[in-house]
């Protein structure tokens, strides 16, 4: 299957063309944001000065980062964290800050799916646990905010990425691979529970 290249910042038009099942590679800039940043932004917190998320990509990730003797950060492991915990906040953050893509794992719920459709955004699934494959795609740490307040995993890291691989699992037309698999596995579960082993 052909892989679609995505360059940040993303246009609404480009994002609305994407469909569930599309394999993509992202090049440009992504901002990590997980539980604490989502809660902070949803509660009305301000983005750090100079950060503009319009057309941007948020990555649900708490990387392992080490600081070299020269003071520069290096990302040594950077896979996605479970996205569902951001479900209460994600829709509002997509709307407020003009995100075009959210990268994570495990998929998200109906509120986020509706926001993707309404605002022109996609959910991209990276392979959970593939921290080395994905860290290899991080070419530079451009900045970090909230490091002292939130701790390293919860900080907001601005990462330059090249050919970062993911799969579209929730698109801007209202389709979700997670809903499809959930529905089919629910049918199988009902079958398994009704019969004895």
């Amino acid at each position: 299957m052909r892989t679609k290249p995505l360059q940040t910042p993303l246009s609404e038009e480009r994002v609305r063309e994407l469909r569930v099942g599309d394999r993509v590679v992202i090049t440009g800039v992504v901002f990590t944001a997980r539980d604490t940043v989502h809660k902070y932004l949803a509660a009305g917190g301000d983005l750090p000065g100079g950060v503009d998320l319009r057309g941007g990509v948020i990555y649900h990730c708490g990387p392992v980062a080490v600081r070299g003797n020269d003071g520069r950060w290096q990302i040594v492991a950077a896979g996605p964290t479970t996205s569902y915990r951001e479900e209460p906040y994600q829709a509002e953050i997509i709307r407020k800050f003009g995100l075009r893509a959210v990268i994570g794992k495990g998929g998200m719920g109906g509120k986020t799916l509706e926001a993707l459709k309404q605002h022109g955004c996609v959910y991209l699934h990276a392979v959970g646990g593939a921290a080395q494959v994905l860290a290899e795609c991080v070419t530079a740490v451009q900045d970090v905010w909230f490091l002292d307040e939130f701790g390293a995993p919860e900080a907001m890291w601005k990462l330059a990425v090249a050919d970062f691989p993911a799969v579209v699992t929730m698109d801007a037309t209202g389709n979700s691979l997670h809903e499809l698999v959930r529905a089919s596995s629910q049918t199988e579960l009902a079958r398994a529970l009704s019969g004895s082993p």
């Binding site: 990387p63 040594v76 646990g129 701790g151 004895s196």
Partner: protein, 271 residues
């Protein structure tokens, strides 16, 4: 674990999302090994399981292990994962109340066995404990009820637990020992089998039935949802009937050593 993941890749359809996930997992394991870096950025809870003679100095071991954990964190082998739940403070050492976690057992042998498990938060969060009977599942207080509870846990975990994973199951016990012993199942070899035929059949049935759900690697759909199911029993109170399920993601990080009395490693327990 690696062999099981290789077999799983061969079972999935060519060019499917499931196969490509398993391919990425393989590349990731290779990279982590060759670079001595974390296989997953969530290096998880740090759990030590120690079996030693009663003369073993547990306090000294805890102090030493804590220092090692802090040193490994500074090297980027462990992520700073120890967070105060009230203040949100993460001091970066990975040592604090409850972290790392230690389980000690007295052993008759002069040898000392130390096992270490790293268990990430994604798979820890999807652990579940059921109190039978469970009306929602129609699960009674018998093995069939346990089966219903465990399959429900696999269904609920989809997408969140980083499949394909391994289940640790404890039937019986109390709320605390249920989770403790469901996790201890992760110290068993992946290919071992229970001598008790009832439990052996239960494990085989869970594995087969869970994989029939079609959840697949990462919940993308596919044949491989679980690589193994490991179960144990503990006696219960007449009033209680718990079924406890712990989920281990595909990264399944564990290692163990046997030490002689002078502290030299005589055996590595997991290849």
């Amino acid at each position: 674990m690696r062999n099981a993941l290789l077999l799983a890749r061969d079972c999935e359809a060519n060019d499917s999302l499931a196969a490509s996930v398993l391919e990425t997992i393989h590349r990731n394991i290779d990279l982590a090994c060759s670079r001595t870096r974390p296989i997953c950025q969530d290096t998880g809870s740090v759990l030590f399981y120690v079996t030693a003679p009663s003369s073993f100095d547990r306090t000294a071991f805890k102090k030493l292990a804590g220092r090692c954990v802090t040193a490994a964190t500074a090297k980027g082998w462990l992520r700073p994962n120890s967070v105060d739940p009230i203040t949100g403070r993460n001091d970066g050492t990975n040592v604090g109340p409850g972290t790392p976690t230690f389980y000690f057992e007295d052993g008759p042998d002069p040898a000392i066995t130390i096992k270490l498990m790293l268990k990430g938060g994604g798979c820890e969060n999807v652990g579940a404990q059921y109190s039978l009977p469970d009306a929602r599942l129609g699960a009674d207080r018998n093995l069939d009820g346990c089966r219903k509870a465990v399959l429900d846990a696999v269904f609920q975990a989809q997408g969140k637990g980083c499949a394909p994973g391994v289940l640790g199951i404890c039937i019986g016990g109390d709320r605390a020992t249920g989770y403790e012993h469901s996790k201890i199942q992760f110290l068993r070899r992946l290919d071992d089998t229970k001598p008790d035929p009832t439990l052996r059949a239960f494990e085989e049935d869970i594995l087969r039935s869970a994989n029939a759900l079609g959840i697949g690697p990462m919940g993308f759909g596919g044949k491989t949802t679980l690589l193994a199911a490991k179960a144990c029993t503990l006696n219960r109170l007449p009033a209680s009937y718990f079924v406890t399920v712990s989920y281990m993601c595909w990264a399944f990080r564990r290692q163990g050593v046997v030490l002689d009395q002078s502290g030299h490693i005589t055996q590595w327990l997991y290849s």
